[in-house]
């Protein structure tokens, strides 16, 4: 449990959308052996922060350092290449591709993604494909979706799509995963399976997690430390107990914004 350096450093990050400041001078560290919770009321800027970390958006100012390298302003496929993978609040699956294809897409670099290789050395591509297929079937087994491997991803239920997103992050063999509301719209039993998968990846594979989640039961059970955001700023961070007892957190959740605005 003693990591020497943070894997992710968010330093004074700001994101403005025209007049609106969605992320306001955020600073916090994430440690490689931890599952970090990111909570806060709706509109606190959590998903915007994820977009900044993953490269979907570039910050207006500030620095984001991942694994010793500055990643602010990088594109999504570049941060992916460094081992930083994200999921989406509303699952984004390739609807008219099978579940298995959705996963086989992920590993990189793939020889067959070069056009010449698939024309000139198809046997080498086929060999690699067999390996990737086995890997994808393993990942499907972990999230209990094996029986749907050949189904179109668009036909899955909402909860199954969440599991598919989780399997997608496992396929990437990441150093760090950003999960945006993995539990939203998922029933209790499925939720438990998602939580145990997260825990297993964290313990067995040493993957660092940041999880945005509104289900406090899940957050308190799974996450330590917890970072709390409100109105774009980090208002508190610490262990679940510290955060629960922090008056600023209670204020943010129980109408502090109304006070502040008045």
């Amino acid at each position: 449990m003693a990591a020497t350096a943070p894997i992710l450093q968010v330093q004074d990050v700001v994101k403005d959308f025209d007049g609106l400041r969605a992320v306001d001078h955020c600073t916090f560290d994430v440690w490689p052996d931890a599952i970090t919770g990111l909570i806060g009321p709706n509109g606190a800027g959590k998903t915007t922060l994820f977009n900044l970390l993953s490269g979907a958006l570039a910050p207006t100012s500030g620095r984001i350092i991942f694994d010793g390298r500055r990643i602010d302003g990088m594109e999504m496929h570049e941060t992916f290449g460094l081992g930083l993978v994200r999921t989406f609040q509303i699952p984004r699956e390739m609807a008219r591709m099978t579940v298995l294809e959705n996963l086989m897409l992920v590993p990189a670099p793939q020889l067959g993604e070069r056009l010449w290789a698939s024309w000139l050395t198809p046997w080498r591509v086929a060999r690699q494909e067999r390996r990737i297929e086995a890997q994808a079937l393993d990942a499907l087994g972990l999230v209990s979706l094996s029986h749907l491997a050949n189904e179109y991803a668009g036909n899955l239920s909402g909860g199954q799509k969440k599991l598919l997103e989780l399997a997608r992050t496992l396929m990437a063999e990441p150093k760090m995963v950003l999960l945006d509301e993995p539990g939203a719209g998922v029933n209790r039993i499925l939720l438990r399976s998602i939580a145990s998968n997260i825990l297993r990846a964290s313990v067995e594979r040493g993957v660092a997690f940041i999880i945005i989640e509104h289900d406090m039961q899940l957050v308190m059970a799974l996450c330590d430390p917890i970072v709390v955001m409100a109105n774009g700023s980090v208002i508190a961070q610490g262990t679940p107990l510290q955060v629960q007892q922090d008056p600023r957190v209670l204020e943010a959740y129980l109408g502090g914004q109304i006070h502040g605005a008045a």
Partner: protein, 334 residues
């Protein structure tokens, strides 16, 4: 019409349908697999056709065609005097290369933008190419057009039998293009393209450099269209800017892909033969039914019925199932 006439007609029909099938495969790479909205096929069509024609056509007798302005005549160079008609093959390759070289910068500036900008840009290329060949008279005789484009292996068979020789040529080229496209889209490369078509952001979140793959697909599709143009040039053997009107050089190809099945290469080929069959066959209908406007109307009816009855086209996109995966009953319809 006597029997020989019918056979002649069918051979001519199959040549045109085969050439259109090449274009439909090119469009399938753009739209069917990658979701790139190219509505300027006519531009690559014209560019490919003119490139091949300029490389193989020798300038006609000056006394006979006194106002013929022409920058071609490459085929007279002793550069490639191999006995065989190497220049035709060169022309085919050059047509593909030329279209690729035009698609590269256009794709580079538009493929990062929203989808609709590509549509506008391709429409722009089509019009630009047409206007260049119309106004630059020194290049390809302007509006009067290029004529006497030679027959492929023209010295082997008599002019009357040319179509019988050219049909297998077209079919061989079609087969090569088909295999190349089918191999490409079934490979992991094609999987990335389909992922981009389905959801660009998700493809990027899966680590794919979306822009790079879109650019590759755009260039490959354009090159295939160039090959189609080159085949066309040696078939009709007369090119003028007016040949490449949006109806028969863009719209009809879209109709073929929609009818046959977008995202399915067999569908693209089938659609080319079906739509061209209707377009070409309806000219024999009696009276006003054989009018071009009615024939176009028939194609419109076909498109609407396919969209209503079989939204995926006659042959929909195939689902790529893995044999190694445990089989299960489908959740919804496949």
């Amino acid at each position: 019409m006597d029997l020989l006439g019918i056979v002649d007609y069918l051979v001519g029909f199959a040549i045109m349908a085969g050439i259109y099938a090449v274009f439909a495969l090119g469009l399938n790479v753009h739209w069917g697999f990658t979701g790139l909205f190219n509505i300027g096929i006519a531009g690559f069509f014209a560019l490919g056709a003119y490139t091949a024609a300029l490389l193989t056509t020798s300038s006609p007798d000056a006394a006979q065609f006194e106002d013929f302005a022409f920058a071609g005549n490459w085929s007279n160079l002793p550069l490639l005097d191999w006995g065989v008609d190497a220049w035709y093959v060169m022309g085919l390759a050059a047509a593909a290369l030329c279209c690729g070289l035009v698609a590269l910068p256009v794709g580079y500036v538009t493929l990062r933008l929203r989808d609709d900008y590509l549509a506008i840009a391709t429409l722009g290329i089509a019009e630009t190419v047409r206007l260049v060949f119309l106004n630059e008279k020194w290049l390809a005789n302007g509006s009067k057009g290029l004529y006497r484009i030679p027959e492929f292996l023209g010295d082997v068979v008599s002019p009357g039998a040319y179509d019988y020789l050219y049909l297998p040529v077209v079919l061989v080229v079609l087969a090569v293009v088909f295999v190349a496209v089918q191999t490409a889209v079934r490979s992991p490369w094609g999987r990335v393209l389909r992922a981009i078509r389905e959801d660009e952001t998700a493809a990027a979140a899966s680590g794919k450099d979306v822009f790079r793959f879109k650019l590759q697909a755009f260039v490959l599709g354009a090159m295939i269209m160039g090959v189609g143009g080159a085949l066309f040039a040696h078939h009709v053997r007369f090119l003028a800017p007016i040949t490449f009107d949006p109806l028969l050089a863009t719209f009809v190809i879209w109709a073929m892909l929609m009818v046959g099945g977008s995202g399915n290469n067999w569908g693209a080929v089938l659609g080319a033969f079906v739509v061209w069959g209707i377009w070409s066959g309806t000219q024999f209908l009696p009276g006003p039914l054989g009018e071009p406007s009615f024939r176009l109307f028939m194609i419109g009816v076909l498109i609407v019925s396919v969209i209503v009855l079989r939204p995926g086209g006659m042959l929909g996109e195939e689902r790529r199932t893995a044999r190694g995966a445990p089989q299960a009953q489908a959740v919804g319809e496949g």
